[in-house]
Amino acid sequence: METTAVRGRLTWQVATVTSVTPETGSVVTITLDPPDWLGHRAGQHLDVRLTADDGYTAERSYSIASAPGEPVAITVERLEGGEVSPYLTEDLRAGDELELRGPIGGYFVWEPADGGPLILLAGGSGVVPLRAILRHRRRSGSEVPARLLYSARTLPDVIYRGELDQGHDAQVIYTLTRSHPLGWTGHTGRISQALLAEAAWAAEANPLAFICGPTSFVETAAAGLVGLGYRPERVKTERFGATGGR
């Protein structure tokens, strides 16, 4: 345990942006080539620093979207009135330099040895670190059963939809909170105890849960799983809110 606390200093480095790919109308995935990257774990995040020409800097944290062993990538949602995300989603181009340091965090991570079954609960862009976990599961050949319950405003707001719909043996369940297409047969409305009871593994299987999203989503989801009998120490949460952060 203590060895992780005394690891080396996280230094800032200048990465090259290798691609900027739209995911939805307001979300892009940015792949990066940092010169000195010691690898990351599924679920970790990194810090980005922007510098204006007058020397002003702004830093934010973003979840890493790629699996261990894949090129470093972050997925960024444009936040109205945000300072950093509009730049990353609209101005940044392949070939640009981007200052970063990481990886950061070691609790909200999954390794195949941690087992499962896995229940991943995503609210909006909270899907990003969960996608890294799903990719890591697939790439590592893990046979741990996995389900993703993903709450999005509308179907076009679903990030990674093409990839998620391919399944890769992980079951993906959507619920659309704002509007849904004609003929939509999936779930609608915010996450609820009833939906959790239907979508989550039975507590007897001792599932491992990862929840990421806005605070109200995470509070409802975490309390709901505990209410279903999940052990609190097997329910890991990561939240973002009015921080201008993720």
Partner: protein, 205 residues
Amino acid sequence: MTIMSPVSRGFQHLRRASAADADRLPPGQHVTEGFPVLSAGPTPHTPLENWTFSVTQDGQVKKSWTWAEFQTLPAETVTADIHCVTRWSKLGTQWRGVAVDTLLGAAGYDAPYVLAFCDGGYTTNLPIGDVTGGNAWVAFDYGGGPLPPEHGGPARLLVPHLYFWRSAKWVRGLELRDHDAPGFWETYGYHMYGDPWKQQRYAGD
């Protein structure tokens, strides 16, 4: 070693803290009007009749208070700026709680460090000097009302001069220690002290 930060072509800052706020804002922080919630697991809900606050040492309870007993202790009103390692700061927050000086004074102490322990298993380590001398409280009111569970209620540690992960939610006691050992986030690479004015976010900063 610091590197020269490349200018981010076209990046312009939108947020400028007012001159009054700027003096109160540590580097790399921005002011939020909201009160973001960050925690690693489900929000615990310990009934007040089961709640105690304990000062322990070497596995022994030196002093313990029930919720009712705790409410009879002298409480202080505290106004403080708080700074989260995720870079938001909230200025002028108002709390009510019992000074850690009062608690440790009643229990007696002679140890250089404490480890705060909490419902849900969270811990954080602090030098004794950072929780005494009027530096820290166990707060149960926020903004004139009971502290909401998602913000750490019924009671959380309040150590406003350090990054806010030190202000442990759902705190249930302090363990007096003769040596420093990392708590929860400190084990996962966050700084062993966490001074926001020195940007001590991660180990080695």
